[in-house]
């Protein structure tokens, strides 16, 4: 689960995640930073929860800047990497830039992604680069994959978010060109609108109106997405990346309960990993 889906203090969110039966969690830098006891208390709460942190998000608008804007973002990145270290996360999620000041020059983007990977390296942290569907220059995973491929750093990979793939209707066939070992995290969510044609609409739906897999109107596409990832050999973590204003007004236990139901939906509909003998059936089903 991603704690951003839940309301309440960090401890209550972690407790709800744990109580619902999840063992892994994605944390958000803002909730670590805003913890009343400070970063150390937040880190202690995370350790006490027993949950494995599979990622921290999110570093925004890092790549493509120059001069003082770039220097500023390097400082932000370093502080976030320290937070990752403090809470035991081996992954920092970096969203593709939405900044009007960012260059779209591929060489500059590659250079900055390499630099970010090197910053993370001594701390033992990996960088997961995620294409936002409203990103300024990188707005779909194939473009992100191309940059990651070109940057060619062992600790730099991709984060795939089903929302952006479904909302922007990015072709899933492009996954054929992605090395599954370079996918560091897959985030799952659905949404309630049939279409989100413009970047503005996608931004609105993506920030406020996502739902758990199985709750939305793109279940078939979502199932196909996960099945393809499984078949291409992805064996990493999945997380529910659900930004939903309503869920932030509900008790965390209620929302975590919906997440658990969604996990069961995903297992029932798509996972063949625990049932390897049924793999040939799964292939036919696609």
């Amino acid at each position: 689960m991603d704690t951003a889906t839940l309301a309440g203090p960090l401890e209550a969110r972690l407790s709800a995640v744990r109580a619902a039966g999840f063992s892994h969690v994605v944390l958000n830098a803002s909730e670590i930073a805003s913890h009343p006891g400070g970063e150390q208390a937040a880190a202690a709460a995370v350790r006490a929860s027993g949950l494995h942190v599979c990622g921290v998000q999110v570093l925004r608008d890092f790549e493509g800047l120059s001069g003082h804007l770039h220097d500023y973002k390097v400082d932000v990145a370093k502080a976030m990497l320290r937070m990752c270290r403090a809470v035991g996360s081996e992954l920092l999620v970096a969203w593709s830039s939405t900044s009007n000041h960012a260059s779209g020059d591929a060489a500059a983007l590659v250079r900055d992604l390499r630099k970010l990977a090197t910053l993370a390296l001594p701390l033992g942290i990996r960088i997961g680069y995620e294409a936002l569907s409203w990103g300024r220059h990188v707005d779909a995973y194939p473009k992100a994959a191309q940059l990651v491929d070109e940057a060619d750093r062992a600790n730099l990979g991709l984060v795939l978010d089903s929302f952006h793939v479904l909302a922007a209707r990015t072709a899933l066939d492009e996954l054929d060109y992605v090395d599954s070992r370079k996918i560091f995290l897959v985030q799952l969510s659905d949404f309630l609108w049939h279409e989100a044609r413009s970047a503005e609409e996608r931004g609105e739906a993506g920030r406020h109106a996502r739902v758990f897999p199985g709750e939305g109107v793109h279940s078939a596409e979502l199932a196909d997405f996960i099945r393809r990832l499984d078949e291409m050999g992805y064996r990493g973590d999945y997380s529910f990346e659900v930004f939903n204003d309503d869920y932030l007004q509900l008790p965390p236990a209620t929302v975590a309960g919906r997440a658990l139901k969604s996990a069961k939906w995903a297992i029932d509909h798509v996972s063949r990993r625990s049932l390897p003998l049924r793999r040939p059936d799964a292939r036919r089903a696609t």
């Binding site: 370093k78 390499r114 970010l116 090197t118 600790n155």
Partner: protein, 291 residues
């Protein structure tokens, strides 16, 4: 019209020219100094204001730092000597520093420097540092910060032709590619073909410096070592010797004990000392590298 051509990266981006010094941090400098002397080093100078000593043999300099802030991130050096830093000789230290930061290295905390001269440096593996030194020809960094010990020969010769051969670095599981990226990107190290090893400890991944004067060896935990405490850090220096057996004999005469059983017993290829003072070993490797 613009002409776009693929310009290759320089093979030696910081104009590296070998190791200037290796720094250890310990709260027991006398005991460690005695060990260095057994290894053929001589104490040649003392820092003007800090608890730092310079040992030397041939072209090798070792700094022993027992100042309370010797280690970044730690309160003070502990009894067990730790390999705290490598100093690379470069053509232009500030260029090397800028290049490293541009690539994404972390600047070192200024308090941690063993020197009062402004020697730029970056974070290396674990708590270690990497310094860049460009004053190593006519005028040395030691001329400023250190006072020669009375009566000590300033340039004691190397025992049995010993010289720097390399540094061994422990890394966590699946981190080899990360650290290869680090040394390749920042400094232009190249990976040696799999199976090419020197000495008596043929494991891990070997990287050759762009100046072809020393090696780094990256070692992940061995299989079945789940119960061993294994942190990332610099663990050992390798000393090159043109004749390992002669070097072993000379060091044994000075009281150094080598592991003499199992796979790492002394051969003409190399030798490994016993563990001293809780964590320190020295490795000998047959080498005709020019000191």
């Amino acid at each position: 019209m613009t002409i776009q051509e693929s310009i290759p990266e320089p093979t030696n981006p910081i104009a590296m020219d070998g190791i200037e010094f290796i720094e250890y941090a310990t709260s027991q400098p006398q005991a460690f100094g005695a060990l260095l002397q057994k290894m053929g080093f001589s104490a040649v100078a003392r820092h003007r204001s800090r608890e730092v000593m310079l040992y030397r043999q041939g072209a090798m300099n070792v700094i022993v730092n027992s100042h309370p802030d010797a280690l970044p991130g730690l309160a003070a050096p502990v009894e067990t000597p730790m390999l705290a830093a490598m100093a690379f000789r470069v053509r232009d230290a500030s260029q090397a520093y800028r290049h490293s930061l541009d690539c994404g290295a972390w600047e070192m905390p200024t308090r941690a420097s063993a020197m009062e001269l402004n020697i730029p440096g970056i974070h290396g593996v674990g708590d270690s540092l990497i310094y860049f030194v460009d004053r190593y020809r006519d005028f040395s960094i030691y001329d400023v910060d250190f006072v020669p010990l009375p009566g000590a020969a300033p340039r004691p010769p190397a025992l049995a032709g010993l010289h720097w051969f390399g540094v061994v670095q422990a890394i966590l599981n699946d981190r080899t590619n990360d650290w290869v990226d680090f040394y390749r990107t920042l400094f232009g190290f190249t990976i040696l073909p799999e199976g090419k090893y020197f000495g008596v400890l043929p494991k891990g991944t070997l990287l050759e410096s762009p100046c072809h004067t020393f090696y780094l060896q990256l070692i992940e935990p061995p299989p079945g070592a789940e119960d061993i405490h294994w942190d990332e850090g610099l663990v050992r220096v390798g000393l090159g010797a043109p004749d390992v057996r002669a070097a072993v004999r000379a060091l044994k005469e000075r009281g150094i004990v080598f592991i003499d059983h199992g796979a790492v017993q002394p051969t003409e290829k190399g030798a490994l000392t016993q563990v001293y003072q809780g964590a320190v070993t020295f490795e000998l490797v047959v080498s005709h590298l020019k000191p």
